[in-house]
Every structure is written in C-alpha cells, then in structure tokens.
C-alpha cells in the first residue's frame, strides 16, 4: 500500500520581551540558577500575575504577518498539572480563545511552486522552569530562571506532507519571527523549538490515521530526521498490519530514533479553566491599525525591492534577504556606499560571508561593521586601491583595530594612478622584454597580459590596471 504523510507542527517561539510574561523578572539567558525568578515566578503564596503588554503586541504582529484574525477578546486559562519545575502547579496559557487564529503562510516547494500552510492558532503562554536530573545524586534540581518566559505557540493545520516540507515551514516561521523582531530565534538556547504531530494514511483516504507527537525538537535538521524516522516507523507498523499508538515520543538525536514518552492513557487531564487572576485581553481596532502600520518589510518585499531598487541578481537578493541580520547589514553598507550595489553584493556574499561562515559567527558579532565594509568598497570603486587588495585589507580589518584608510596607508596599498610613474615602469618592462613586444606587434595579442603582469609585479599590484592598459597599448606601438 502507498502511504500519505500528514504532519502538523506546534512551534514554541520565545518572545523577545525584556521581562517575563507575568512578572518583572528579566528573561536574560544563561544567568546563574534561580537568580531571574521573582516571587511571582516562584509561585509564592499571595502573588498575582500581571500581563506584559509587550507580549500581546508581539503576538498581534505575528498574527498580522500571517494574515490571521486577531481576537478582539482572548482569555488566559490555567493548565493544571503537578511538576517541580512548574511552581504554581499550573501553567498560564490560552485555551479556548487564543489571541491569533485562522492564518496562513506560503512555503516554497519543488519546481518553484508555493504551498499554503494554514495556521490554526497562535497563543500566548508562559514557559516552565528547568529540571536538572544529572547534577546531584538521588535528587533533581530545579532552575526557575526560565519559568514565566513569554512564549507564542504557533499551531499549524496538518497541511505538511513530508519531512522536508515540515523543515521548510519551520524555517519560514523562524525567518518570519526574526524579521518581525519578536524573537531572537536562538535554537541552542531553546528560543525556537517545535512539537511535530505525524500520522500516515493510505493515499487518497480522507480519514486521518492515528498520530504520534514528537516533543521538543530544536533544530531544522532534527525535525527532518525525526519525522523521517517516525514515518518509517509508522509505515513498518501499518504494513505489518499493526496500528499506531497515540502517544508522545521523544527524538534522540544521538541515536537518530524516536522513543515513547507516554501514551494517551497516561496523559494528564489538564483541567483547563479561565484564569480568574487575569482579565481578558481586549484588542481594539485602533491598536491593530497602529501595529499594522509599524509592521516591518518582510522577506518577499525585501527581495523585490533589492531587485528593483538595487538591480542586483535575484539569487543574490534571496541569499541576502534570507536572514534579517544579513539583510540589514547589507542595507547599512548600501546606505553608505556610493557605487554599484551588485558590486557590493558580490564582495559581501563571497568575501564577507565567507569570513562569517568560516568563523561560524553571527554577522552581528563580527568585528567587521557596515561602516568599514562600505569604506573598503568605496576605496575600490574610487580607484584608491585596486580590487585585488580587498582580501588583504579585509584580513587586516579582522586582525587589527585599524580603519580601512589606515591599513591602506600603513601597508602602502594605495593604487598608482600617476601617468608619468606608470609610463616609466612600462618603458622599463618593454625594454626588458623586446621579444614579447615583437610577438605582440606581429599579431599575438595574448602576450599583452604577460606584459601587464610584469608591470603589476613591479608595482606590487598597486598600479591602476586601466591606466596600465591604456599606456601600454600606446607605448607598445611606438
């Protein structure tokens, strides 16, 4: 039998709020244990949650960007279960009335086609703390720094039909939340992770199969691998005539397999009910309008603008716009650089991105700034240095604190454009290579390159190639 894969993703996005969703503690990552937890986060007797309005605005931004409806009234509910890293014994989340619903997003699939993935809902909730099981013998430690961190949970319809599509969708959402600046999207720190619901059904069947949910996947690669593994596992079960158990599974990236965590029967009854400590979130049309006006340019618009305004190649535009940090860096260069944006893109994508990838750093962490990049490109465009010097200058920029101009001066890289000086060198070269001159004059024009090379060698590459070319052609015929 042929099987069709049905996948839905629940993506948990940590919102880029400075403070937690219901308390004023900082959300800063990597601080020492339990130092970012206030009495509210610790679930002390008598304390009450107060909603961080920033989180609401971020959720609305997301909703508008995926053409979703924004609920005029949405409410917080309590999800009740006992666990030591859940201090109140319940998680504040949204259940029946989420703030964002009925959205959709387009993802690229094969043959340049696009596919629409429907977004059921996106709701606000607080994160739990962290249980640490391996630090103490016979005891579990709890770190509540993460407790109360604002999350947006984005739930898709089961519209994804392959591991690859799931990964593409996840990347698309990642790109979007980064563009909207509502999340840093840092996957190592857990700011962006997903649960995948996977089931198989016979091709053409309208009835969905039993699904398994894989929890807490925190990389694009793992989501693909976990789903691929899960598809094979379910296929094997179904083809042997068995049935898939509805359960929660964990993906083990070391072994590349999924393992059962708990079955439906063992699942909690969360006893959701509206949280009486919090008022409904009321969103008026004015606020939505304001947020809409402030929405930033998104990926597709950026690519179009690059092609139209900068006249750069489409492939380059896509490559640059893929990541908002890179796009903004490039735009910051262009705003300073009075030259050809394509030339800037060429250098940016090959030399600068080459350096970033080699160092495995984020472009915003690089010592190279848009200012120094623009300066370098400008000196080339203005013929102050020749293009062949860019690698030397970039290396110096990375290794020293000198500016582009300081490097050019200190290393004597300034291009020689003085006609008399160049002419003198050319005459010297022609005198040294009379045979080659004869060859040229008898019609073997390729030999010109050799002669130019000799001129450049004598000037350590600093001679202006255009001038060299012009004078050499004049002198060779004399």
């Amino acid at each position: 039998m042929k099987w069709e894969t049905v996948i839905g993703l629940e993506i948990h996005v940590q919102l880029a709020c400075k403070s937690k969703i219901f308390s004023s503690s900082s959300t800063k990552y990597g601080m020492s244990q339990n130092t970012q937890a206030s009495l509210v986060d610790l679930g002390y007797p008598g304390v009450l949650p107060v909603l961080n309005q920033q989180a609401v605005i971020m959720a609305i931004k997301f909703g508008l960007a995926v053409d979703a409806e924004i609920a005029e009234k949405s409410i917080f509910a309590r999800k009740n279960y006992f666990y030591p890293d859940l201090p109140k014994g319940y998680q504040i989340s949204q259940y029946e009335l989420p703030i964002v619903f009925n959205g959709s997003i387009e993802i690229p699939i094969d043959n340049n086609d696009m596919k629409t993935i429907r977004i059921t809902r996106a709701h606000l909730e607080e994160d739990a703390g962290k249980s640490i099981h391996d630090k103490f013998d016979n005891a579990t430690a709890v770190d509540l720094n993460r407790a109360g961190t604002p999350l947006l949970e984005i739930v898709s319809e089961p519209d994804l039909s392959s591991a690859e599509e799931a990964s593409t969708y996840m990347q698309k959402i990642h790109q979007l939340v980064r563009y909207l600046k509502i999340s840093d999207g840092n996957m190592q720190e857990g700011s962006f992770r997903c649960d995948a619901n996977i089931s198989l059904k016979p091709i053409g069947s309208s009835k969905l199969g039993t699904r398994a949910e894989i929890k807490n996947i925190n990389s694009f690669r793992f989501v693909e691998k976990a789903i691929e593994y899960e598809i094979e596992r379910q296929k094997d079960i179904l083809e042997e005539g068995g049935s898939v158990t509805q359960e929660t599974r964990l993906y083990d990236s070391d072994k590349n397999e999924t393992r059962s965590m708990r079955s439906k029967e063992e699942a909690n009854d969360y006893r959701y009910f509206p949280d009486p400590d919090l008022l409904p979130i009321l969103v008026d049309k004015e606020l939505i309008k304001e947020i809409k006006i402030d929405l930033p340019e998104l990926f597709e618009q950026k690519v179009d603008r690059y092609i139209k305004d900068y006249s750069i190649k489409k492939a380059d535009a896509i490559e640059i716009a893929k990541n908002i940090d890179i796009a903004e860096f490039y735009e910051a260069i262009i705003s300073r650089f009075k030259g050809n944006p394509q030339q800037a893109a060429n250098w940016f994508l090959s030399d600068l991105m080459g350096h970033i990838k080699k160092e495995n750093i984020s472009i915003t962490d690089s010592i190279i700034t848009p200012e120094s990049s623009a300066e370098l490109l400008q000196r080339i465009a203005d013929n102050v240095v020749s293009a062949s010097m860019t690698k030397i200058i970039l290396k110096q920029l990375i290794e020293t604190t000198d500016s582009v101009d300081e490097i050019i001066e200190a290393q004597g890289l300034r291009q020689i454009s003085d006609i008399d000086q160049i002419e003198a060198i050319i005459l010297e070269v022609l005198e040294s290579y009379p045979d080659q001159r004869e060859q040229y004059l008898s019609g073997k024009e390729q030999v010109l390159g050799f002669l130019i090379g000799q001129v450049m060698k004598k000037t350590s590459g600093k001679a202006n190639p255009k001038i060299v070319n012009k004078i050499l052609l004049e002198q060779i015929k004399k």
């Binding site: 679930g43 007797p45 009450l48 009740n80 006992f82 009486p276």
Partner: protein, 488 residues
C-alpha cells in the same frame, strides 16, 4: 476596661490623652491576658509593634501625622506580612515567613497604623466556624462554647471582645459578614476589585475580597479609605477613585429605596431572627427609607453554584503547596509522587482536602461542562438578578445568617449543613457586590446581624445607612457578657 472604637482612639491620640506607646501596650496586655480564652491570635507582633509605637509618638509630637498614626490593628493570618509568620491557619504554612508585604498591609503601614498580630481563621479561609484552623477553634466571646463564625473568626472575636479595635478579614462567601453577625460587630466586604488581592493568600480568586471588622461603620470608613484603590500588581483591582468614605456617612437616606428580597425570608430563617430583622427594617423606615419587596429569583442556586466555583478555583490555587520551595515538607519521601502525596496529605486539613477534591472533580474532562461551566452560567443569572433589582432599589436588606452562633462541634461533621450557613451571604460574592453586616439585637444573649447589599462600588452607601442606624440605636455597643465574666 472599655471597648473603644477606632474613632475614640484617634481622638485620644490627637488630644494627647494617650500616647501610641501606651495604646499599643494596653492592647498587648489585653491580648496576652485575655486571648487564651478566645484563641483569636496566632502570632503577636509585640516587639515590632512597641518599636513602631515609639516612632509613632515622635511623629505625633512633631505634629506631622495622619489620623491612623500609632493606632493598633490586627490582620487575619491570610495577608502576607514581611518577616512575620503567615500561616493561613494551616500546618502547610505553619513556619512560613513571607519575604514581602501584601499591598493592603503595605498601605496600612504607610498610614501609620500598627500591626499587633495575626488572627486565627479557618484553614485557607475554608470554613464557616473557625473550626478548620490547624491551631484550634476560636471561641465566641458572647458564649465560649459557641463558634464566632468563620472564616475570619479570630478577627471577629478579637474586635468583639475589645482586645483589638479593628481587624482585617477576607470574605469569599461570607467570611467577614457571618462572623461579624455572630459576634455582634460590624463587618464590610467591599466590591470585588475595590481592594488589592496582592499578597492575600488565594482561596477562590474570583470571589476573595479583603474587608474589615470593627465596632462601627464609621471605624470601617476610616480604614477603608486607606486600604482601597487600584493596585498595578493585581489586574483584577479596579481603577476607580476612592471616595472619602468618612465624609459621606452622615448623608440623609430620606427617600432612598430599600429592597427586601422575598427569597431571603423563608422557612430557613428562624422566627426570632425574623422579628429582629423586622425591627431593624423599621428603623431604616423611620430614618426615611422607602421599603419595598423585591425578588431575586435565582438566589436559591447560590450555595451549589458557589461550592462549584470556589472549589474549582481552590483546587488550582492550592496546587502550589508542594513543600518544594516553602511549606510543610516531610522528611520521609520516596519519589516525586510520594512528595506530592505526603506533603499535601499531612500539610492540609480535611476541609481543604475535601474542597480540593471537589474542585478537581468539577474541572475534570467530561464533568467541566456539567459543573463548572453550568455554575458560571448560573453565576451570571444571579448577577443579572441583582442588576435588575438595583434598577428599582438603592439598597438590599436581609439577614446575614439563618440563626445566631451555633455551638462549636455542632456542625463540623456535617459539611452540607455548614455550607448552608452562607446561604444569605454567598450571592454578593458571586455578583461581586459590596455587602455589610451590622448587629440588630440579641437572641438569648447571642447577637444577630442584618445584611445590607449595595450596587458595585457603593461602599459609601452601605456605610452611610449603617452609620445612621448606629446613631439611632446602640446594638453595636452591646458588649459580650460571657467574655467579661471570664475576665473578672
């Protein structure tokens, strides 16, 4: 030894007839000397109170003081007090010392009043007799075999006996008004959202409201001004100006309409109480009010509705007590399940566990719609009844309780009969309305209260009516004889 009103103490201080240090000392002596027969205090704040009184006297001498500077008060042991043990009368929090002050305690502190101690109560405010306290029941100063009511029983007994002039209470279903009625004092539950709940240990978040127990409406009005108002730390507190209640209590009520709900006067009310209520209503008539009969058709569903909603909320609110970060923690724990089971089994008393179980049940899958959701709908109907009634009347008047204080031990093994105690008081919690109980006389030397209910944020109307009543009568000045006998 006299029972002083707050107003009287304020005058004595401002006339320099007594210093704060003397006042604090007097009340500390009273508590230490007489409270053993009442069990109304769980923790005394002696050292700090004495220190504060010395500071208060300096402030008073300097002339730069407010009306409450140096005045002693007590708090129900449900309000978190920084550095002072806050138990909620539970073994779970027997040794819990909060690292912060609740907003109300903080506001009262800023007014200059001095916290003398924390009063006994039903465990986590769950109970109507003060018998569910882990630290033992409180005795009613009118008759030491009787319950002072609950859950704010300690605050009520302390005020009624004169060992404290005024005390904080909380009211989720009648926990201020019923004890006030049983001990012959005045008790106010303000509008839901009038006073901050921040730092008030939650029982049922949508019903809990802080309030006051005192001898007179005037005393309550003075304290309420200080306590009330929006708190950014409590999203359910309301941003609305706080009137100067004490300036509004003398207005005439001539021509005001008082509604008597016919559903409140049925067989469950005893005939003696009925008689006193009629007399009380007649006094309001004499003061110029127009009395009309009204109907609150859904009021009969109040008790079951309340026990579904309150239990549901408490089952979730009390989930945080696991002994991990604070609270009772057993030494002998095997694993995680055992940690929850043992700490909560031993840390909570029977009534608390009964309500957690009820609440867990009504919220569970398959029962939610039939219980919780249905109760919320009925709650809305009850609110609508009041809304309709307040189109016709300015105030609603009725009984606070069915009968005077019952005996300790009489109802503790019959939860349903105990729950029925709150039959008249619960509906104003469900509708979030302000309500007050004031004394209207004695039956067999036991006090009876009358309940006034006003529209949202009309505390001033309740206090105004009650104050005129108390100027006309002296039921509120009748003192508990039994307690005096024991003292002498």
């Amino acid at each position: 030894m006299d029972r002083f009103t707050l107003k009287k103490l304020i005058n004595m201080i401002s006339q320099r007839e007594i210093s704060s240090a003397e006042l604090v000392s007097t009340y500390l002596d009273r508590i230490k000397k007489y409270d053993h027969s009442l069990n109304s205090f769980l923790t005394l704040n002696e050292e700090s109170a004495r220190e504060q009184s010395l500071i208060a006297d300096k402030v008073i001498q300097a002339g730069n003081y407010s009306s409450l500077t140096g005045i002693p008060y007590a708090s129900k042991d449900i309000f978190c007090t920084k550095g002072i043990r806050t138990t909620c009368a539970s073994k779970m929090l027997e040794n819990f010392i909060p690292p912060y002050d609740s907003t109300i305690i903080d506001r009262i502190k800023s007014s200059g009043a001095i916290l003398m101690g924390k009063t006994n109560m039903d465990e986590f405010a769950m109970g109507s007799s003060n018998e569910t306290s882990y630290f033992g029941p409180v005795q009613n100063p009118w008759n030491l075999e009787r319950s002072p009511g609950g859950s704010s029983g300690g605050s009520a007994a302390a005020v009624a006996s004169g060992i404290i002039p005024i005390a904080l209470g909380t009211d989720t279903g009648g926990s201020i008004r019923q004890p006030a009625a049983f001990t012959g004092i005045t008790g106010l539950k303000p509008t839901y959202g009038r006073c901050s709940r921040y730092g008030m240990i939650a029982f049922a978040s949508s019903l809990d409201q802080a309030g006051l127990l005192a001898l007179t409406a005037e005393d309550i009005s003075i304290f309420l001004e200080v306590m009330s108002g929006f708190d950014p730390l409590d999203s359910t507190s309301v941003e609305q100006d706080v009137p100067k209640y004490s300036d509004l209590i003398d207005s005439s009520i001539e021509g005001r309409t008082v509604g008597i709900p016919k559903e409140f006067f049925n067989d469950s009310l005893d005939s003696e109480s009925q008689k006193l209520l009629d007399q009380g209503i007649a006094i309001y008539e004499k003061l110029g009010a127009k009395i009309i009969e009204i109907s609150l058709p859904n009021i009969g569903y109040s008790v079951p509705t309340y026990y579904v909603v309150a239990s549901a909320e408490c089952s979730s609110n009390l989930a945080r007590y696991d002994g991990i970060r604070y609270g009772y923690r057993d030494d002998d724990i095997e694993d995680l399940d055992d940690l929850y089971r043992t700490n909560r089994q031993i840390g909570f008393g029977d009534e608390v566990k009964r309500r957690i179980m009820t609440g867990t049940y009504v919220l569970s899958a398959g029962y939610y719609d039939a219980y919780y959701l249905k109760a919320q709908k009925v709650r809305q109907l009850i609110s609508n009844d009041f809304e309709e009634a307040f189109k016709k009347v300015d105030l609603i008047v009725g009984p606070t309780t069915q009968s005077p204080a019952f005996k300790i031990g009489e109802k503790i093994d019959d939860p349903v009969s105990m729950y029925m105690n709150d039959i008249y008081t619960i509906s104003s919690n469900l509708a979030g309305l302000p309500a007050l109980s004031h004394p209207i006389g004695l039956i067999d030397n036991l006090p009876i209260g009358m309940q006034l209910i006003a529209p949202h944020f009309e505390e001033s109307r309740l206090l105004n009516f009650c104050n005129l009543f108390q100027q006309e009568t002296d039921y509120h000045m009748q003192q508990p004889q039994a307690f005096l006998d024991v003292r002498h």
